[in-house]
Point group: C2
Chain length 145, copies 2
DNA sequence: CCGAATCGTTGGGTCCACTAACGATTGGTG
DNA sequence: CACCAATCGTTAGTGGACCCAACGATTCGG
């Protein structure tokens, strides 16, 4: 029963990652947000929500937490006063490096029993699945715009 | 980043399964418990907790829910009055059949983009991972007993 | 100009995993 | 036998990740 296997291994993966992150008082959302900020640069919360797939209402809390620790800065956008522009600080960048280390560590722990080749195959298969399910939400012919 | 892929696909899998189960007012724990009862027969809650890896405190709620709907029976063990013996009822067996159907359906949805061969490979890889991580909790040389 | 859309925010709710504490019962050891 | 340790079931509460509905403020398009 593959979906059982998937949810279970997904669970293990999740636990490993979560534990590693917890050891530096972080959680998944923090990493996702910091990483996205570094990759794409400052952006509004809504834009970040779309890119990270973090729900906009959770984004509020996440930004609160990170801003409270000085890892990001939240500033109103002068060009559009509805928006807050979130910027990665230097401390945020340093924290991101730490989280990346942790992530790599849990990766290693997770995939320990697999050869390099097997890891690649697994990654490829999972990518296929993800691609498929990420595309699905869009219907083909919506007359929007 | 494989652990990202795993948690994400695990997520999709989880959502698909959860939604299917929800359509018959069930959730993962219900299926796990019912399936385990059918496979191993009646058992105490603690024993079921060990087999299903459902935390003993969640087991209480799960059994409450299932017993409330007549899908299992909870009876005190005459041989050990600390224990409750949980038994699968006929209605429980029927419900299990329904859940199995739902599970198969979400399975199909999940693995749609994969060929039969690929599915097998994925299953094999995930099994390897699960095996490894299920074994780990035990140390090798504990001098107990 | 006015209605529609977007943005941030608040406050909820679900599922799954887990922790801490407790009374009741049982078993083993001194 | 008495007593302590372990087990069983239960209650109550935590936390992460995901998601929904509604609101005021602002901006945009016709």
């Amino acid at each position: 029963m593959p979906s059982w296997l998937l949810t279970q291994t997904g669970n293990h993966a999740h636990r490993l990652v979560t534990d590693e992150f917890a050891s530096v008082q972080a959680r998944g959302y923090h990493y996702r947000l910091l990483a996205t900020l570094e990759e794409f640069g400052p952006a509004s919360q809504a834009a970040l929500g779309r890119r990270t797939e973090i729900h906009v209402s959770d984004m509020v809390a996440t930004v609160n937490e990170l801003a409270g620790r000085g890892l990001v800065e939240r500033a109103p956008d002068p060009a559009d006063r509805r928006r807050n522009i979130i910027t990665l600080t230097d401390a945020g960048t340093r924290q991101l490096r730490v989280l990346e280390e942790r992530l790599a560590a849990s990766q290693e722990a997770l995939l320990a029993p697999l050869s390099a080749e097997e890891r690649q195959r697994l990654t490829a298969l999972l990518s296929t699945l993800l691609d498929h399910h990420d595309r699905r939400p869009d219907a083909a012919d919506s007359p929007s715009r």
